[in-house]
């Protein structure tokens, strides 16, 4: 028995974990198991990749199977990490079309959560660049699905949290890039209205995301720094030592669980003030891909920062026209009731993939909460606010919702036709998905 948790280290659950290395070994395990969940690299935050009976970790099925240098099509097993893909193909001029804020996610996890990145408003989510998926489905068969073949299974699998079957391998499309550098530009927004406006003004940027100071009050309420990015062309970065810089080695690793009292509203608001002022006068600059996309990856085990009880994330999306009203309410609630909310990120979404996939037209906010009884209450209160405004929740982050709070808009009856009933996660049981 192993104790497993999501990246938030809340909740920790005892389970049997198996790590198959080949398709035949995997199928042998699955065919003899009544209840299980597949798991990638454990980077979803909550309990969506843990099953008490059996958790099947896919990280050793991590082989690249076919590559086409002309077209950028990659066929790979589902345990391959985005990091592997960048290490291998960036030097050949190819980069993932969509990447989340960590490169340590598997392809299977990226599909199951239909992850999004800073370019969602332009390119959509990870699922948009998946050509096909091979999956162990609810008939205990390995089938291929795509938008042309078994298309409903394909669409329910993208964002389906692994519940339609175990993703064994897939084909994805990479993006041609001229360099590994990103031209970064920052825009200062002094309040919430400016913040929301600036997404609209910069919607042509390839990448955009706002870090928001969720503790600033008064006329600075909702102030933020919008960070824009474009892939640099080769000619722009000729002075750099390498056109395709390598991944940075881990600079530091969090060696122990930080004492949790270190994160409180006072320390966090001091940090936020400092961070805001440091970034206020930044000029546009060229940064390497690793620094731009994955700032937290350079700190090993950064999840220990929140102390031994761990943390949970809250991420919702609100319809655009209700965003200002909704986020005013959400930020005010955080300010008056919670403690130690460290990371708050705002991002605009373009249209989504529907089915169970999270992203949909509107604005999304992601927040970290140190685990405490008080913060869990706040998280539930925020959930109710989002529900009252017709928003939805990102299941890759959720660790606290109950079934009555899970109101994402999808056709449950249709979904059940494609659901593999042997697959259950602690989350799917909790929210009755």
């Amino acid at each position: 028995m192993n104790e497993l948790s999501g990246w938030g280290r809340y909740r920790k659950i005892k389970t049997k974990e198996l790590t198959p290395q080949s398709e035949s070994e995997l199928l042998e395990i699955l065919r003899h198991s009544e209840s299980y969940i597949p798991r990638g690299n454990g980077r979803s935050y909550g309990d969506s990749a843990i099953n008490k009976n059996l958790t099947v970790t896919m990280t050793r099925m991590n082989r690249l199977l076919q590559w086409n240098q002309e077209s950028g099509e990659l066929v790979a097993e589902s345990g391959v990490l985005i990091a592997d893909i960048i290490d291998t193909f960036l030097p050949r001029g190819w980069f993932p079309y969509v990447t989340p804020g960590t490169k340590f996610v598997t392809l299977g996890g990226a599909i199951a959560c239909d992850v999004h990145g800073k370019n969602h408003h332009k390119d959509g989510s990870f699922g948009n660049f998946v050509n096909w998926i091979e999956i162990f489905n609810n008939n205990n068969e390995v089938v291929r699905c795509s938008s042309d073949e078994n298309s409903e299974l394909f669409h329910w699998t993208i964002g389906g949290m692994g519940l339609t079957g175990v993703i064994i391998r897939c084909s994805i499309q990479l993006k041609k890039v001229e360099s590994g550098w990103i031209k970064q530009q920052t825009v200062v927004n002094n309040n919430l209205n400016e913040t929301l406006q600036s997404f609209y003004e910069h919607k042509k940027a390839t990448y955009s995301v706002a870090w928001i100071d969720c503790l600033a009050k008064g006329k600075s309420f909702g102030r933020s720094i919008l960070m824009l990015g474009e892939h640099a062309q080769k000619s722009e970065v000729e002075a750099k030592p390498a056109n395709y810089p390598k991944r940075k080695s881990k600079k530091i690793t969090f060696p122990f669980d930080a004492p949790s009292f270190l994160l409180n509203n006072f320390t966090v608001s001091a940090f936020n003030r400092l961070y805001f002022n440091l970034n206020k006068n930044k000029q546009s600059s060229y940064v390497d891909w690793d620094t731009y996309f994955y700032p937290l990856d350079s700190i090993g085990d950064w999840n220990r920062m929140y102390g031994k009880n761990g943390f949970f994330q809250f991420q919702c999306v609100l319809p655009r026209e209700l965003s200002e009203q909704g986020y005013t309410k959400i930020l005010s609630t955080i300010q008056s009731k919670s403690s130690g909310t460290f990371l708050a990120v705002l991002k605009d979404f373009g249209s989504g993939n529907g089915h169970l996939s999270f992203p949909q037209e509107g604005l999304t906010l992601a927040l970290d909460f140190k685990v405490s009884q008080k913060n869990i209450e706040v998280g539930k209160e925020l959930t109710d606010i989002v529900n009252s405004l017709g928003g939805s929740f990102y299941l890759a982050k959720d660790a606290i919702m109950n079934s009555s709070q899970f109101n994402n808009d999808f056709d449950k009856e249709e979904f059940l036709k494609y659901r593999n009933v042997a697959i259950k996660s602690e989350q799917s049981i909790r929210i009755e998905l």
Binding site: Q21, S22, R63, L64, L65, Q66, W67, D84, T88
Partner: protein, 244 residues
């Protein structure tokens, strides 16, 4: 790319072998991967080719079919610069000690097969006047213990064979490296409770192998050098009484 050096990895399905393949490939080596049912290596082969843009071929070999070894070496296409043998089975001591055929299988797989095949390759290397032979043996061969002496005795034979080969080839520009990895977290040791402090990853073993590939010596991970020093120095009249 034809100038690249080539390593032959026998028993290429083992976890240590795969880690070695990645390590050498990342350093620009071409790979010849040999195993029984070598088609099971197809994914590994495509992965290595795509990741490192090197040549990788896979070859069928059964370590118990000694009569095929000569043809096997001829079929490689080119005689490699380095030949590594990672073949081995742990067996099941309590079952094996009651069965001639089980015991014999463990002995032949861990000792006879690897020794005869590396011996034949060594002869070719000697003729050519260059090459490195690398054998993955085991610390279990350093002293027979009740819990795995059938496996241990075979590994002991393999270690002694490599030692003699090293001695014989010392002046012929062919080096022989013996690796005694200690506990490694692999398929072979799955289900065993291994103490974390002295258990290595296949990747760390592959780095040791890469570093010492041209050495003529016996190599342990540092911590095992210390552990085995003590285990070897326990007098037999005490050793026979302790449970290991």
């Amino acid at each position: 790319m034809s100038k690249n050096k080539t390593i032959l990895i026998i028993g290429a399905k083992s976890d240590i072998a795969v880690a070695v393949a990645h390590k050498f490939a990342s350093e620009g080596y071409n790979l010849q991967l040999a195993a029984r049912n070598s088609s099971e290596l197809d994914e590994v082969v495509s992965d290595l080719k795509i990741r490192y843009e090197i040549n990788v071929s896979n070859h069928e070999v059964d370590i118990l079919k000694y009569e095929t070894f000569s043809d096997f070496i001829d079929s490689l296409g080119c005689l490699p610069d380095i030949a590594l043998c990672a073949v081995g089975i742990l067996g099941n001591q309590t079952n094996d000690e009651k069965s001639f055929s089980n015991s014999s299988l463990v002995m032949r797989t861990n000792y006879e097969g690897p020794s005869l095949l590396l011996g034949e390759i060594a002869n070719r290397f000697e003729m050519r006047g260059s090459g490195s032979i690398i054998g993955i043996s085991s610390v279990a061969g350093d002293r027979g213990r009740a819990s795995n002496y059938i496996y241990g005795s075979a590994k002991s034979g393999f270690t002694a064979f490599l030692s003699g080969l090293r001695n014989r080839l010392y002046k012929s520009n062919v080096n022989v490296l013996t690796i005694l990895p200690g506990f490694v977290e692999t398929k072979m040791t799955k289900g065993l409770r291994l103490p974390k402090l002295i258990t290595a990853s296949p990747e760390s073993i592959s780095c040791i192998i890469y570093q010492k590939k041209h050495k003529s010596k016996v190599a342990y991970p540092l911590v095992w050098q210390i552990v085995m020093f003590f285990i070897r120095s326990i007098p037999e009249f005490i050793f026979k009484r302790i449970k290991l």
